[in-house]
């Protein structure tokens, strides 16, 4: 890599996309209006479980502006399938998970509040809503199971008849006998029972979709708020609508935040696309905020019991974890992978625990489907592990830092094979720990605690030392673990005749700043000005293929594909340059945008080579084709493993139980950094979400399956005044297996921060005999602890 050049790797140019976003010139799906467009409104179930006895559409169909009303029967008659699940997990006994159909519109039964029953299409949205109210739907209500505990209780009502006990799968990983044997040798055992609270993602832009059908060509087009338009095309075309790829275009234009919730193929996408072909007019749907609460896939919602066997010197001997994971009413696209392959495989964390055994039961409930949400499985595991390590320190009477250091995977042990499948390629846990402790002034904390005490406040400090697996993923590994798609990435680097460049990427930017970061990468590698690189994403008609953006994969996988494509550009350029300068291609060096004959001052600028490629008058035509346009598919050899240390310092007002965040320090080892400003922004956003989970957010269902936290008045999203100014540092231990050395930064903030916050809260309350507080650590829970009352758990 070169030294930092303006607009190159390591520089922090302002984000090119922000001008249009901040000036109201973004083009989001809801900003688009198609000629002759109609509007869809979905009539949704207001009961969590029931049998649809009848749907009378007659009065509604006669209302002003109504064009069509479709129900599950119409879709079934047209052989439209359900939305598929993209990941298959097998139970301990080898049987595949129970995978009930997820119909586009309910077939016979409704299974959660929000389940779509009918689609009303009218000239205006108001008319569609009016008509939806006139539908006469008779539902015989069935008992609902709205929490994990209710769903696994003996005799619980079944969400799906073929999922006995509401179990989707009963999976395990690791060596149970070895773990049991190790526990027999334990000096002490640390245990924890915890709930990883259910979250509602709430991206700023609600979902939207516009379906179109061109009767002359038979082509379908879907504009949608997606993180991965090619995946939507694949799933919707092949499994739902039975339309081949060349007749289906999916466009995800500007998208206002995803956080995982916009990965999945939702029923509304299929419904509007199908309906457009029935009424021969475009069909537009835009989700309302309240509707988003009951239809966007929720996150987390695990209940776990874990035990850590400890030797007398504090070494971890074995870990045993038992988890129940809420799937909701249907299997969302990647839901089965979250508590298993994205979660249990990380139970070693940054520690040398030699044997680990994990069991996971996935459970259906009458709630919104639950799927990947920023971090997807790794926040759940990190929270469990980092809380358990603090409890282990307490159990052993050891210092929290000392017990971590005693069990760290040492730097010379890398690459490190964990007992739970993963092979970590690189990491330096001592470095991130030491730097974070220094930045957070860990050693000065007791003085701050004493001062706070003098003011009548309870001050606490907590840390997490975490590692996560992202950059998903090697296709072969993912396939062996149950993924039903490859997980490579695609880049097309198109050099234009005058030397400007358009890069087409299969990743998708919905806040990450790819248009800036990728332009920097290309500018740096090809030695062209940052401003002369355009990044295009989000349209299956423009981009060869791609798997989209999630799992912090865009730079490590998508950026690596770009490097591979640029390698081809440079190799071809060398041949052209060799011809023009009458030298051997082997003697051509490419640096800083110049092709030079080694050892001479003869050189050709990148732009000259590009021009020659498109105006091949003097050209090695027998050796290379004209043009300078290369595509690369890059399939990584391994996951990437960012890690780091987060430290949180809190002060609690004992009169009210309110937690005030005093300081938050994050030092993340994310490998190569392209744009430090964007990296810091990613950490800030992730930490804010992690703090939201730790202190504020909680999806609550009542026993009948009504979502009580169904609005922003009831569900607490973190706001600026909930957060301190963050101190953020990065370390760069390079990833060893991709050409950039990049690891990924999109999720580390949300993964590392929740346990740091709760460890700090528990530390602040150490005089009250508290060893654990479930998230969110609300003022009510803390006030109850301080007042020696049992904390009241929400909706359990």
């Amino acid at each position: 890599m070169n030294d930092i050049i303006k607009g190159g790797i390591g520089d922090s140019p302002k984000r090119t996309e922000d001008h249009r976003f901040l000036s109201g010139n973004g083009r989001y799906t809801d900003d688009l209006n198609r000629p002759n467009q109609t509007h869809a409104y979905f009539k949704r179930s207001d009961v969590a479980h029931g049998v649809i006895k009848s749907i009378d559409t007659k009065a509604a169909a006669a209302m002003d502006g109504v064009i069509a009303i479709f129900t599950g029967a119409d879709l079934a008659a047209d052989n439209i399938g359900g939305v598929p699940c993209g990941w298959q997990v097998h139970s301990k006994d080898g049987s595949p998970m129970v995978e009930p159909p997820h119909p586009v519109l309910a077939q016979g039964k409704v299974r959660y509040v929000g389940d779509a029953i009918a689609m009303v299409i009218a000239e205006t949205k108001q008319q569609a809503k009016d008509a939806a109210e006139a539908l006469v739907i008779d539902i015989e209500t069935l008992p609902a199971v709205s929490t994990l505990r209710a769903a696994i209780a003996p005799g619980a009502s079944l969400v799906h008849d073929d999922a006995k006990g509401n179990v989707c799968y009963d999976w395990h990983l690791g060596d149970k006998e070895a773990v049991d044997a190790a526990f027999k040798q334990a000096f002490k055992v640390a245990t924890i029972d915890l709930t990883n609270n259910r979250l509602i993602p709430n991206p700023m832009e609600p979902r939207a979709a516009i379906g179109e059908y061109d009767i002359s060509s038979g082509e379908y087009t879907l504009h949608t708020t997606s993180q991965n338009p090619h995946v939507i095309r694949l799933l919707m075309g092949a499994f739902v609508l039975h339309v081949p790829e060349h007749k289906l275009r999916v466009v995800a234009p500007d998208v206002g935040g995803g956080f995982g919730a916009k990965i999945f193929h939702y029923i509304e996408e299929a419904a509007v696309t199908w309906a457009a072909s029935k009424i021969h007019r475009p069909v537009k749907w835009t989700c309302e905020r309240g509707e988003a609460f009951i239809t966007d896939a929720h996150g987390r919602d695990h209940v776990s019991h874990a035990e850590l066997a400890l030797a007398q010197d504090g070494k971890f001997l074995a870990l045993r974890v038992n988890t129940y994971a809420n799937m909701g009413a249907y299997l969302s696209t990647f839901a089965p992978s979250v508590p298993t392959y994205l979660s249990a495989t990380l139970l070693a964390g940054v520690y040398t625990t030699p044997v680990i055994y994990s069991e996971v039961k996935a459970i259906f409930t009458n709630t919104v489907p639950v799927d990947a949400y920023r971090g997807a499985g790794r926040p759940e595991t990190t929270f469990l592990l980092e809380r358990l390590v603090d409890i282990a320190a307490h159990t052993m009477g050891m210092d929290r830092v000392a017990i971590r250091r005693r069990n760290f995977i040492p730097i010379d042990a890398y690459p490190y094979q964990t007992p739970v499948a993963l092979m970590y390629d690189s990491g330096n846990h001592e470095a991130t720990l030491a730097r974070c402790m220094e930045l957070a002034d860990w050693s000065g904390f007791e003085a701050r605690r004493a001062k706070a005490k003098a003011r009548g406040k309870l001050r606490g400090i907590g840390m997490s030392t975490y590692l996560e697996a992202c950059g998903i993923a090697p296709s072969a590994v993912a396939g062996a673990l149950g993924a039903r798609a490859g997980l490579y990435e695609v880049a097309n680097v198109r050099v234009h005749p005058t030397g400007s460049i358009t890069v087409f990427t299969g990743t998708h930017s919905h806040g990450q700043g790819h248009e800036t970061t990728f332009a920097q990468l290309v500018a740096d590698q090809l030695g062209v000005p940052f401003e002369s690189v355009e990044v295009v994403h989000g349209d299956t008609a423009k981009i060869p293929f791609g798997m989209g953006t999630y799992g912090s994969r865009s730079l490590s996988v998508g950026g690596s594909a770009m490097v591979k494509a640029m390698d081809k550009i440079i190799a071809k350029g060398k041949k052209i340059a060799a011809h023009l300068m009458e030298a051997s291609a082997d003697d051509i060096e490419f640096k800083d945008g110049k092709f030079t004959v080694a050892g001479t001052d003869k050189s050709k600028a990148f732009g000259e080579i590009a021009f020659s490629a498109y105006v091949p008058h003097n050209y090695p035509i027998d050796e290379v084709e004209p043009g300078l346009d290369e595509t690369a598919f890059y399939d990584p050899k391994n996951f990437t493993f960012p890690g780091g240390c987060h430290i949180c310092e809190v002060e609690i007002d004992p009169e009210t139980g309110t937690v005030h965040l005093e300081n938050f320090t994050a030092v993340d080892d994310i490998g190569r950094v392209i744009n430090p400003m964007i990296v810091h922004g990613q950490v800030h956003g992730g930490v804010a979400q992690g703090i939201g989970q730790a202190l504020l957010e909680q999806a609550v269902y009542d026993p009948e399956g009504q979502l009580l936290s169904g609005s922003l008045m009831d569900y607490t999203m973190p706001r600026a005044d909930n957060l301190p100014s963050f101190v953020v540092g990065t370390e760069s231990t390079m990833c060893t297996h991709n050409p950039l050395g990049a690891k990924g930064v999109g999720e580390v903030g949300a993964i590392g921060s929740p346990p740091a916050v709760i460890n700090a809260v528990v530390d602040a309350l150490r005089d009250y005999g508290v060893t654990h507080i479930d998230m969110p650590a609300t003022a009510q829970k803390i006030w109850s602890i301080i007042n020696h009352a049992a904390p009241r758990m929400a909706a359990e």
Partner: protein, 219 residues
Amino acid sequence: MYDFEYHKPTALADATKALGGTDAKALAGGMTFIPVLKQRLAQPSAVVDLSGLGLTGISLEGNSLVIKAMTTHREVATSPVVAKAIPALAHLAGHIGDRQVRYRGTIGGSLANNDPSACYPSAVLALGATIKTTKRSLKADEFFQGMFTTALEPDELITEISFPIPAKAAYEKFPNPASRYATVGGRRRHVQTLHPPRHPQRHQLIARLAGQPPQPLIL
């Protein structure tokens, strides 16, 4: 939102007449009413916009602070008159909702809505304010009748609120973290300072507990 007729009268008599029709509703700042309409939780035949009535302004009348009904929270929060007469009221108004809400929301709208978690009702009760309407003058404890319920008749509008100026007053709330409405709001007033009451909490802390009890209580 359902369709409705929209009226924007410029005279009080026209406003009360328009409200006399069936299912007409008054629109003050709309900070609760507009979301209710958007969620189709109300279906009024007509909406009577009160913003053209000139019902804004803050003044001192004798030993009372008089605030007209359509005065916004922001106007109360930043008024030098309020700051001098009842600084606690300015503090209260400055902590309602967020900046956008404070520029739109009005004192009259808040009182007429009588949300049990709102800030103004407890102030009106604690300070022993008088609510003047198009028909009469009501003492605070006559005005509030229960959660979202007041003594107002359908065609009756609040025109102004008159607060007797206390020697001292204070307002604190414990906001709900999501809505930032008060989970508990408390206001104290000292009617006279020469002989502070022996049990100020019991007599003069006005607490409103979220939803239950449904209206302000003097503890």
